[in-house]
C-alpha cells in the first residue's frame, strides 16, 4: 500500500529548495550576498577605523599605503572603513524598504483581488495614482519633507514602490480565488480573513517571494540614488553617501566612487541572481518530477 505514494517528495517549500540548490548562478548569488553581509556585520571587528575620521592625506590612491588598501577620499577618510561601515545601513534600508513594499503591496492587492467590485476599483485607482508618480521624484519629496534618516528613506522607498507588488498580488488572487479549494474552504465555514491570509496567500507566495527579492535590489539602488543626490542621512555612512560625497572629484580620483559603486553592483547582482533562482525553483514547468 505504501508504494502507492511517493515519499521522496516533501513540502512544496522543500521541493523548491531542492530545485534552488541545483542552480549554480543562484548559489553564486547566495555566496556573494553572504560574504557581503558577513563583511558588513563583522568586518569592523577585524579592521579598525571610523569611516568618518580623517586619517590620512586626501586622495591617496589604492595600494599606495598598506594601511589603507583602497586609498582615501577627498577628505582623507579611509575607503575600506567606509565600505565596511556603509554596507550595514545600505542593506538595512534595502531590506526594510522591501518589507514595507511587500506589506503595503500585498495588503492592497489581496483585498482588491479577493473582494473585487468597488473595493477593487477604489484600491486599484489609488494604486494607479501612486504608479503614475515619478518614483524617484516622489521619494525625494517625501525625504525632503521629513528630515532624512534611515527610517524615512526606507519608508519613502516603500511608499513609491508598492504598486507593482499590489498589482502582482491582485492578479494572483484573481486567479487563485476561483480555484476549487477556495470554495471548499468556504464550504467548511472559513471566514473571509482566513481565506485571504491562510488559504490564498500561501499559494500566491512564490511569485511574491521572487518579487520581494528583486525589490531589495531596487531599494538598494534607490537608497544609493537618494544618497547620491545628497538626500541620504548625512550622519550615517552608506555606499550611496560615499559616491555622492566624492562624485565631484571623480576626474581626479576614481577610487572613492568606484569601490562603493562596485559594492552596490555586486550586492544588487547577487540579489538578482537569487531572485532568478527562486523564480526557476518555483516554476513548476521547470521542475522534473
Amino acid at each position: 500500500m505504501s508504494n502507492m505514494t511517493d515519499h521522496s517528495a516533501e513540502s512544496p517549500a522543500l521541493e523548491a529548495w531542492r530545485m534552488f540548490r541545483r542552480n549554480i548562478p543562484a548559489l553564486f548569488g547566495v555566496a556573494i550576498l553572504a560574504l557581503i553581509i558577513v563583511l558588513t556585520l563583522y568586518g569592523q571587528l577585524f579592521y579598525d577605523g571610523d569611516a568618518f575620521d580623517v586619517v590620512w592625506a586626501p586622495h591617496e590612491g589604492p595600494g599606495v599605503t598598506p594601511e589603507f588598501p583602497l586609498g582615501t577620499d577627498y577628505l582623507g577618510r579611509d575607503i575600506v572603513a567606509g565600505l565596511l561601515t556603509g554596507g550595514g545601513p545600505t542593506l538595512a534600508v534595502g531590506g526594510a524598504a522591501a518589507l514595507i513594499t511587500m506589506i503595503i503591496g500585498i495588503s492592497m492587492g489581496a483585498l482588491a483581488g479577493y473582494y473585487g467590485g468597488w473595493v477593487d476599483n477604489l484600491l486599484m485607482r489609488v494604486t494607479e495614482f501612486f504608479q503614475v508618480l515619478p518614483a524617484l521624484l516622489f521619494a525625494m519629496v517625501l525625504v525632503t519633507l521629513f528630515s532624512p534618516s534611515l527610517w524615512t528613506i526606507a519608508i519613502a522607498i516603500g511608499v513609491v514602490s508598492w504598486p507593482q507588488t499590489a498589482r502582482l498580488t491582485r492578479a494572483e488572487f484573481l486567479k487563485i480565488k476561483e480555484l476549487e479549494y477556495v470554495t471548499a474552504a468556504r464550504a467548511i465555514g472559513a471566514r473571509n480573513s482566513r481565506i485571504i491570509w491562510k488559504v490564498i496567500l500561501p499559494n500566491a507566495m512564490p511569485p511574491l517571494i521572487v518579487s520581494a527579492t528583486l525589490t531589495i535590489g531596487v531599494a538598494i539602488l534607490f537608497e544609493a540614488g537618494l544618497s547620491f543626490l545628497g538626500l541620504g542621512d548625512p550622519n550615517v555612512m552608506s555606499w550611496g553617501l560615499m559616491i555622492g560625497a566624492n562624485r565631484e572629484y571623480i576626474l581626479d580620483a576614481w577610487w572613492p566612487v568606484t569601490f562603493p559603486g562596485l559594492a552596490i553592483f555586486f550586492t544588487v547582482f547577487a540579489v538578482s541572481l537569487i531572485g532568478d533562482g527562486l523564480n526557476d525553483a518555483f516554476n513548476p514547468k521547470l521542475r522534473e518530477r
Binding site: S2, G117, A184, I188, R191, V199, N203
Partner: protein, 324 residues
Amino acid sequence: MTALLDIKDLRVTFNTRYGEVTALDSVALHVNAGETLGIVGESGCGKSITALAAMGLIPMPPGRIAGGSIQLEGEELTTASEARLRKLRGREIAMIFQEPMTSLNPVFTVGQQIAEAIRLHQNVSATQAFRDAVALLDRVGIPSAAERARDYPHQLSGGMRQRVMIAMAVSCRPKVLIADEPTTALDVTVQAQIFDLLNEIQRDFGVAIILITHDMGAVSEMADRVAVMYAGRVVEQSTADNVLDMPQHPYARGLIDCIPALGKGETELKEIPGVVPPLHLLGAGCAFADRCTLKNARCETEKPLLLNHGHHLAACHAVEEGRR
C-alpha cells in the same frame, strides 16, 4: 414530520450579458434525516447551483436568490446572515466536490487541513485536532493514517484525496452532506469504493446525503429518492426504484434509456436528440419541448407544473393528459 433540509419554490437568477437569466426556477426538494436524495440531470441543468444555494455559496453578485425558501431544521437560510451561514457550513451542512485533485489546498498537509476544519467549529487544541484528523483518516479507510496525515495532497492518489475530502466534510458531524459528483473524476473501481464509504459513513454518522450525479448506476446504488432536473427545474421526483423502473417524464425516460445494458448485445447507443437549451433562450413553454417526442401545442406555450401522479411527482403535460 418536517424534512431536515427543505427547499421550496427556489428561484435563483444570474446577471449575465444576456440580461437576468433564471438558473433555478420553482425548485422544490427535501431530504430527511439519514436518507439519500439523488439529483440527476445533464450538465448545466442546475444540480450544482442547487447545492451551492443550499450551502449559501452562490456568488452574489452576479447571482441572486429571487424567491422561495431553503430551510435547515426549520431555520430559514436564504435570509440568514453571513456569520450565521458560516457557523452552519461545515458543522450542520457540508459538501464534497467533484475534483479531489483541486479541492485540497496544495501547500498544507492533509492532516493540517482536516485539523483546521475541526478547529473552525470546535474549541480544541491543535494537537488534539490533529489527533482527531488522524482518527478520521483512519475511519475513511486510509492505511497508515498517521503517516498519510503528514502527506501533501499531490502525494496522494485521486481516490485517497476524495477520502480525505470526505473525512474533512464529516469532521464536525454535519447533518447534511452534499456530494457534488464525488466520483466523476475517479476510476470505476475507485468509484465503487467511494460509494461504499459514503454508505458506511451514512450508517455510522446518520448523515443525510444529497448525491448530485449524472451516473444512473450511482443513483440506483445509493439513493432512496431521486429528483430529475432539467433546465433549472425539477421535472420528476419519486423513490429511486420508481424513477429507475418506470420513469414518467419523457426526459427521465430518455435518461434511463441512455444507459447501455451489459450483455444485451445492443449495437447502437441510445441518446436524447438535441442539447439543453441555453437558459437565456427559454421560452414560455416546456423547456424540454424541442427534444420531446410527445410534445403538442400546449407544451410550446405553457410551462408544466410539478404535479403528483400517483407515486411520482412529474412536470409534464403529456403525463398529465395520459399521452404516451
